[in-house]
Each structure stands twice: as structure tokens, then as C-alpha cells.
């Protein structure tokens, strides 16, 4: 890896983040709706005779700076965000956006990390096996069936899993991140297992939805690799089929998969929003869902900024480690 390569990727990272920040601001404010009015609206549906709603709206618009011209709001937003001050949430006031995200982010990262690693690993193995001549017939029949799940949208898959595993047999919880009644005890093995138990169905829906994508990508790459001369040479040298499969076939076919992994992180993250809503999962996706429904500008901007930052960082890291996997990249 050269310095030029490193600096080029770093510059691209900052351009992406700054562009996304601006887009976040424009899109959040483009959605029709009054976030302060939404709070009052909720109060009135619950029986509140809000005599002073006009006074409350005026007071909170001033508190959140929403009475300022839009360009002033934008400059304040950029300046604050660059200092990682994401502001105060409107719907969760007086909680700060940062605090809400810090509470929710570990849930999402844990879920997405585990589910993505499992989907990527299983999907890649499955795809490689589909292209491998010596794969047992049973695996060849079952693999396409698993791939079918990829065509089902996240949300629908989540509902199916809920019904099949949580509603009728009651094997898994209907939602949430932990068992009901869990008090604020320190982390323990039992608590970790409980969190894993609650994360199983949300994780499974992400795994099933992603499995086909990774399997099909890997099968295509593996078919190409199997036609290469070095595979023929390895066979001629009398290496074991297992070694040829893993060390010669899969290893080389994985390169485009890693590229796809970087590119698909954004899709996976956005898909998890729906999964979290379906499973009532306490992650950042649900936070964004709530914020969007109430036009909570600061929360929308904050969550999107963190998502963009996370995905852009992941892509940057992959960009930087890619030359280690394939030295040709750095040389180019």
C-alpha cells in the first residue's frame, strides 16, 4: 500500500461523509411536518386539552433553533456535527441525540455484526459448494431452497419467523432485546445468553435474507476460479480435494466477495431498520423509525450521520486492508 493510495481513500472518506451530512439535512427538512406540532399532536390523541399548545410550540421552536432561517440552521448543524455535537432530540427531549444513539448502537452493531458474519460465511461456503463438482447431491438440492429466502423482503421474512417460531410454538421471544424483568444487574453469562436468545430471530431474518446474495456471488466467482490453470496444476500435483477447495478455490474466489461486503454494508444497515421494527428490537433502526415518523430533525440527522460514518469507516478499513489481501490493488 502506498501513501498516495492511503491519502486518496482518506480524502474520499471525508467527501462521502460531508456530502451525506448535507443530504441528511436537506432530506430531513424536506419531509413535510412540524416536529414540535407532532409532540402536541400526540398529547391531544391521549386526551390532553393543550390550552397553551401555541405557546409550547413557539417556546420549543426557539429552544431548538427552528425559528432561525434555514441556512443558519444548516451552518449550526454542520458546525455542531463536525464537533460530534448531535444536539438534543425533539421527541426524547431533554435526552441528547448522542445519548440515545449510544444506548441503541451496541444493540444494532451486535446484531448486524453477528448476522453479517454468519450470512457472509455460510453464504460463501454454500456458493462455493454449489460450484464444486464433488458436492453431495443433497447439498445441491438444499442450497437453492435456502437461496429462495433472499427474494423475500426483510420485513416479511421477520413476520414469517415470528409466526413460525414465536407465536405458535413460542420457542423464541416475540420481541425486545432482553427478558422482561431483567434488572440493571452487571453483565453475566446468563444475560449474554439471554441477549443472544432474543437476537436469534432478528439475526436469522438478516442471515436468511443475505444468504442467497453471498451464495450466488460466491458461486459465480468460484466457477471462474475453477477454470484457472493453477487449479489444474494443483490437481496434477496430487493435492487433496479439500485443500484445493479451500486453499486454491475459495481463497481466490473470496476476493470479489470482500468487495461486495463493503458495498453491501449500507444495504444491510438500512434493512436492519425494518427488522428492528418488526422485532421491537432496541437498536438504532427503531430510533430512526421513531424519528422519521415524528420529523425529529436532530435525531434523523444524528442517526444517519452515525450510520454513514460507520459504513464509510467500514468501507475505508476494507479499502485499506484490501491491498493486503490482493497486492495488485496497491500496485495499480
Amino acid at each position: 500500500m502506498t501513501w498516495a493510495y492511503f491519502l486518496q481513500r482518506l480524502a474520499l472518506f471525508f467527501v462521502v461523509v460531508l456530502t451525506a451530512m448535507t443530504a441528511n439535512f436537506i432530506l430531513a427538512h424536506a419531509v413535510p411536518g412540524d416536529p414540535i406540532g407532532a409532540v402536541i399532536s400526540q398529547m391531544t390523541t391521549r386526551g390532553g386539552a393543550v390550552e397553551n399548545s401555541a405557546e409550547i410550540i413557539a417556546s420549543y421552536r426557539e429552544r431548538f433553533g427552528l425559528d432561525e432561517p434555514i441556512w443558519v440552521q444548516y451552518l449550526v448543524y454542520v458546525w455542531n456535527t463536525l464537533r460530534f455535537d448531535l444536539g438534543t432530540s425533539i421527541i426524547y427531549f431533554p435526552q441528547s441525540v448522542t445519548a440515545a444513539i449510544v444506548n441503541a448502537l451496541p444493540w444494532t452493531i451486535g446484531l448486524l455484526l453477528a448476522a453479517t458474519v454468519i450470512a457472509f460465511t455460510l453464504g460463501s461456503i454454500l456458493g462455493a459448494l454449489l460450484a464444486w463438482a464433488a458436492t453431495p447431491r443433497l447439498a445441491r438440492v438444499l442450497a437453492p431452497l435456502l437461496i429462495v429466502f433472499s427474494s423475500i423482503p426483510y420485513y416479511l421474512l421477520a413476520l414469517i419467523l415470528l409466526y413460525v417460531f414465536a407465536v405458535w410454538p413460542n420457542w423464541f421471544p416475540l420481541g425486545g432485546g432482553m427478558a422482561s424483568g431483567t434488572t440493571g444487574d452487571p453483565m453475566s453469562i446468563a444475560k449474554v445468553l439471554d441477549i443472544a436468545y432474543h437476537g436469534t430471530l432478528p439475526g436469522l431474518s438478516i442471515v436468511l435474507a443475505g444468504l442467497g446474495f453471498w451464495a450466488l456471488g460466491m458461486r459465480g466467482a468460484m466457477v471462474n476460479v475453477l477454470g484457472e490453470d493453477y487449479l489444474t496444476l494443483a490437481e496434477a500435483e496430487g493435492l487433496s480435494p479439500r485443500r484445493i477447495f479451500f486453499a486454491y478455490g475459495m481463497r481466490n474466489a473470496l476476493l470479489p466477495q470482500v468487495t461486495n461486503l463493503a458495498l453491501s454494508l449500507g444495504t444491510i444497515a438500512s434493512g436492519s431498520v425494518l427488522v428492528e421494527v418488526a422485532f421491537n428490537y432496541p437498536g438504532i433502526g427503531f430510533l430512526l423509525y421513531d424519528a422519521l415518523r415524528a420529523s425529529d430533525y436532530f435525531m434523523i440527522q444524528g442517526v444517519c450521520f452515525v450510520l454513514v460514518l460507520t459504513v464509510a469507516t467500514a468501507v475505508l478499513v476494507l479499502d485499506l486492508i484490501y491491498p493486503l489481501i490482493d497486492p495488485r490493488i496497491a500496485r495499480k
Partner: protein, 589 residues
């Protein structure tokens, strides 16, 4: 080619695969790891009505953003009084009694002896004085109670430790019940002066379980809170039990959980994961009851549901054409079949109404003798002939497309707005829009989120919408008052009350007079009739149906739920009055 570096990489991949496999295996093990230290049979699990507890670390009951129904207004605080909708009585709780002066502009409240905060400090009149003054001084940031205090409280003094005297800015015989009665969803809770003094009430979250916050007089203490649920444990030193005012509640732990949606709520009831649930539909309830017969509701047979305090309406923007014309409002009202709304939005569990107050026992007597007015203005009758006649009288004619058009030939565009988060509104909107189209109105409907709805309706951008009227529950004055012209802001400014922007000085004068009288005053009913005559003639909004509240109760772990056979209290555990029922329920075994 395959040296030590390659082997090391293979090992790392294998470790990764093993880790993933282990995670998968652990994930699939239904171990449950219940970190509970109170048995399920001693835990009461209630539905918070929410998808998530939005503000689990905020126990300031006065901020507009605070999540109240996640346990805060049920068990974090008590109320001075609780209004019992079944008996119509204002049940004293932290207070013992109240007494108005003859002109209803001063009230003296006597607090109950022996009431203590959870930290052992006595609950006194100074707490009430502090709370009301704090609300008055910070009215713009303290939700509806800030506005209430600013509007009504002229002066408040502690006569002695147990006596508070509140002078009002104007006569208001309903002040105590409306402010301190946990009338439906809200009550002006009293906060401890010794905790809140010196804090900024506009940002103070009142949350620190480690030091026993929120400090309250309630029999329950917050243990833990997150977006999923709040957990409260019983305080055996509760003043109510110590003074003999009430027995110690049976549940040792109370959990307010976020069931989220009707599907999950239904499944949780079947699986005994909920002891009581927020409103569900008729078919969902019948499914639950078939699978878990221990789950019951208010009535054992149709209509199953309790009557909600917020009847439904079609709202009109009275300040903008065409609905600034009462003839057009009445014509549109005649175009809509209430029976269709009852069948589709409520699955037959509700009933049509003629005035937007709930059909509750305490309300009915105020409208006895007004049958002639309802006959004179049968606004809620589904009658296409009446629509034709009223629209013609208003100067409209149908154009070539069959839609009503003004004299310039411009068709009336009716853009109906409804909240998608309100299940009955979402179901009723297409029905109402279709019926309006059949009657010749070029009607469309739009489902919006809360922010969009607020933007459209509060600011006067929408001309017609579906909503609810949360007015009176034991007398009609609060409902009439929602149509007073002080609520009618200019277009672009935020309206209040019914949001209809109705303005009629003659009506205002009657309502103002009504507000000065006790509801048992002989003149009160006459003023109700006078106001009703104008209201029905002008029809600022079109009443549609009562709202059905099919709240479910599970007898598996707990019994003595409020039902029509045992109607000791209203059955809504997400209301501010829930504590009365929580104290009353009994273990099933």
C-alpha cells in the same frame, strides 16, 4: 506459496467460523436466561400501549415529550383525586377533600394525614404550592399543566401543612376534577419540593434510581428502565398501607412493557406474557380468547369493549371555504354513514353519536330533554337527499363529472387527512372518502404520521380530517369549551381546542356562563341546551362514533379486574388512574 502466513490466515478463518457457529448455536438455545428475582406469579405485566418507551430516563411529568403511560403516570406518582367514571365520584387519594367558595373562584384542598414521600419526608401543602407556582412560572415549557396553571391559578398558599388554598383567575367549578382528578389520561401530579427546588424544571429528568429517584408517594419504586420496559418494585412502607387508607397492592413487581402492535399484543396475551393489554380489534380478541380462555374483556359478549373517553369526529376547517359554510358542513355530514364506520373501523363494537361526548352513564342526563334539537338538526343521519338540498341551498351545483362545484364552476376538492397511527382512523378514512365521493364531493384521503397531521390540522392547512375529541367525561362543559373562539387561531398559527377554528360570539357567551356554574346548578342544563342548539345548527365538526376500547385482562395470574360484572373502576391501565385498579387486583391463586 502456502507458508506460515497462509496457515495463520487459515487458522484465523477457522476461528472466525467456529465463533460464528458458536454464536449461532448459542443463539438457537432457548435458555431464556430470565434474570428475574420476583416470580411471574407475583409480577403484574401491563402493556404500555407503545412500541417502545421513548423516554425511559425522564420522569419529569410536565414536559410535553415525556412518555407518561410507560408507568410514570400510573405508578411513579399518585394523584390528589381519581375520577371514577363508573360511579361519577371524585375519589380522594393524596387529598382528603376540597371545598369551593360560593363564587367558585377559590378552592381549599385538605390533604390526607400521613401521606409520605418515598424518602420518608412528609407530603405537605408546601409541595402543592411549589408545584403550581413552578408550573405557572415555566408555563411555556411545561406541557398542558403549565398552561393550565397560568390560565387558572391566581395565587396559591399553604394555610397549614395539610391545607392549600388556590385562588383562581375566574370562576371554575370544574377546576379540581379537571386538574387533579386523573380525569382520563392526565392529572396535575404534585412533585416533592425538597427534590425539585433549585432544579431547572424545563430540563430536569428526575431520574436516578440509585438515589431513589423519582421520589414519589406511590407504592411502587422504579428499579430499572429501558426502551423496552420499566420495572417497579413494591414499597412495603407505602403510606397508604401504614395509615390504613388502603391495603398494600398484591403485585410485588409491576412491569410496563412495550408490546408494540396488535399482532404482538395478541400473541403475548395468548402466551400469558401480558396480564392486561391495550385496545385490540374484535377478531384479535376472539382469537386470543379461543386460544387462552383466561383472557377476558369488559363485556363477555359483543360489543365486548368499554367506551373510550374520546369520541370520533370528522373535523372541518371552519375558517376556509368550503367548510366555512355550515350548510356545506351539514351536507358533508349527511353524506357519511356512521353505520359503515361502526362496521368497518370498529368491527361493530361501537355506536353512532350525535354530539362528540362519550356515551357514559354520567354524561347522559345532561342531554335528556334535547331530543327535539337532535330531531331539528339530524346531522348524523345518512341522507343523500339532505346533502343535495343543503349543497343546493349553499349555492353549489354538480358539474359534468358529477362533483359539487361553486358558481364559477370550480369543483370542491376535499382532501381528508387522517393519522395512520390511529387504527380506527386509518380504517375509516377510505370509507369516509368513498362516501363523500358518492355524494358528489371530489374527495381523496391521505394517511399521515403525527408530524404531518399536526402540520396540516393545527396550522389550518387541511380542510377536513378524522380525529377524536377529548373533552368531557362526566359533564359536557369541557367539550363545549373546545369550540370556544379563543381556540380559533388565524390560518398559519397553531389552533387549540377542537382545531376547527369555529368562532361564534353568541356561543362563546353561553359557554363562558356555563363554565362558571357547578354542574348540579339548575341553570347548567339550560345553558347546555342553548349551546347545543347553536352547535347543532352550525355543526363545527361532524360527530361520527363512540370509540371502543377493547382492553383485555388475563386471569391466569391476577383476578378482580374491572369488568361490566365488577364495574368498580374504568378498565384502562394506560390511563393516569390505573393505580386504583392495581391496588384492587388479587392474585389468582
Amino acid at each position: 506459496m502456502f507458508g506460515s502466513e497462509a496457515r495463520s490466515r487459515r487458522n484465523r478463518i477457522a476461528q472466525g467460523l467456529s465463533g460464528a457457529a458458536l454464536a449461532a448455536v448459542l443463539g438457537f438455545m432457548p435458555l431464556g436466561a430470565q434474570a428475574q428475582d420476583v416470580p411471574r406469579s407475583e409480577t403484574l405485566v401491563l402493556d404500555s400501549t407503545l412500541e417502545r418507551i421513548a423516554t425511559p430516563e425522564n420522569y419529569n411529568p410536565f414536559l410535553p415529550t415525556t412518555t407518561l403511560q410507560g408507568g410514570l403516570h400510573q405508578v411513579a406518582f399518585e394523584s390528589l383525586f381519581y375520577l371514577n367514571l363508573e360511579t361519577g365520584e371524585l375519589q380522594p387519594w393524596q387529598a382528603e377533600s376540597y371545598q369551593f367558595n360560593d363564587t367558585f373562584d377559590e378552592v381549599t384542598i385538605t390533604l390526607r394525614e400521613g401521606v409520605k414521600w418515598s424518602d420518608g419526608v412528609a407530603f405537605t401543602a408546601e409541595d402543592v404550592v411549589f408545584t403550581l407556582n413552578m408550573l405557572k412560572e415555566n408555563s411555556a415549557s411545561m406541557g398542558n399543566w403549565g398552561g393550565n396553571a397560568k390560565t387558572w391559578v391566581k395565587d396559591v398558599v399553604a394555610v397549614d401543612d395539610r391545607t392549600v388554598r388556590i385562588s383562581l383567575n375566574a370562576a371554575n367549578p370544574s377546576y379540581v376534577v379537571n386538574t387533579f382528578g386523573a380525569r382520563v389520561y392526565w392529572t396535575n401530579q404534585i412533585v416533592p419540593k425538597h427534590i425539585w427546588e433549585g432544579k431547572d424544571p424545563t430540563t430536569f429528568t428526575n431520574y436516578d434510581p440509585a438515589q431513589g429517584w423519582p421520589v414519589s408517594t406511590s407504592p411502587y419504586q422504579l428499579v430499572t428502565a429501558n426502551n423496552q420496559e420499566t420495572v417497579w418494585d413494591r414499597r412495603d412502607g407505602w403510606w397508604g398501607a401504614e395509615t390504613g387508607f388502603a391495603k398494600l397492592p398484591a403485585p410485588k413487581r409491576v412491569i410496563f412493557t412495550s408490546a408494540g402492535n396488535e399482532e404482538r399484543r395478541t400473541a403475548m396475551l395468548i402466551n400469558n406474557e401480558l396480564d392486561t393489554a391495550y385496545a385490540i380489534g374484535k377478531s384479535s380478541f376472539e382469537t386470543v380468547h379461543a386460544r387462552n380462555p383466561e383472557v377476558v374483556t369488559w363485556f363477555t359478549e359483543m360489543p365486548y369493549a368499554y367506551t373510550d373517553a374520546g369520541p370520533r369526529i370528522i373535523g372541518f376547517n371552519n375558517a376556509v371555504a368550503p367548510f366555512d359554510n355550515p350548510l356545506v358542513r351539514r351536507a358533508a355530514s349527511h353524506a357519511v354513514s356512521r353505520d359503515a364506520i361502526v362496521d368497518i373501523a370498529w368491527e361493530g363494537m361501537s355506536r353512532p353519536i350525535q354530539f362528540p361526548v362519550p356515551t357514559l352513564a354520567a354524561m347522559t342526563p345532561f342531554f335528556e330533554g334535547a331530543e327535539d334539537l337532535f330531531a331539528q338538526f339530524p346531522n348524523t343521519e345518512f341522507d343523500s337527499g339532505a346533502t343535495e338540498a343543503l349543497m343546493t341551498e349553499a349555492g353549489y351545483a354538480k358539474n359534468a363529472d358529477g362533483f359539487w362545484a361553486d358558481q364559477a364552476g370550480t369543483a370542491l376538492v376535499v382532501d381528508l387527512v387522517a393519522r395512520q397511527t390511529e387504527a380506527d382512523s386509518a380504517k375509516a378514512a377510505p370509507v369516509v372518502a368513498e362516501l363523500l365521493r358518492r355524494a358528489g364531493f371530489d374527495a381523496q384521503y391521505r394517511l399521515t404520521d403525527s408530524a404531518g397531521f399536526a402540520d396540516q390540522v393545527f396550522q389550518g392547512k387541511a380542510n377536513i380530517w378524522l380525529a377524536q375529541i377529548n373533552g368531557g367525561v362526566n359533564n359536557p362543559y369541557p367539550t363545549f369549551d373546545m369550540f370556544h373562539s379563543r381556540h380559533a387561531a388565524a390560518i398559519g398559527a397553531s389552533a387549540t381546542g377542537s382545531y376547527s377554528r369555529y368562532a361564534n360570539p353568541e356561543y362563546d357567551a353561553i359557554v363562558e356562563e356555563m363554565g362558571k356554574l357547578a354542574t348540579d346548578d339548575p341553570k347548567f342544563k339550560g345553558l347546555v341546551r342553548d349551546a347545543l342548539a347553536i352547535w347543532l345548527r352550525d355543526l363545527p365538526v361532524a360527530p361520527t362514533t363512540d370509540a371502543a376500547l377493547l382492553a383485555s385482562y388475563n386471569n391466569t395470574y391476577w383476578t378482580n379486574w374491572p369488568t361490566s360484572d365488577n364495574p368498580y373502576f374504568q378498565p384502562c391501565f394506560w390511563w393516569a388512574s390505573a393505580l386504583v385498579s392495581i391496588v384492587a387486583i388479587e392474585p389468582a391463586s
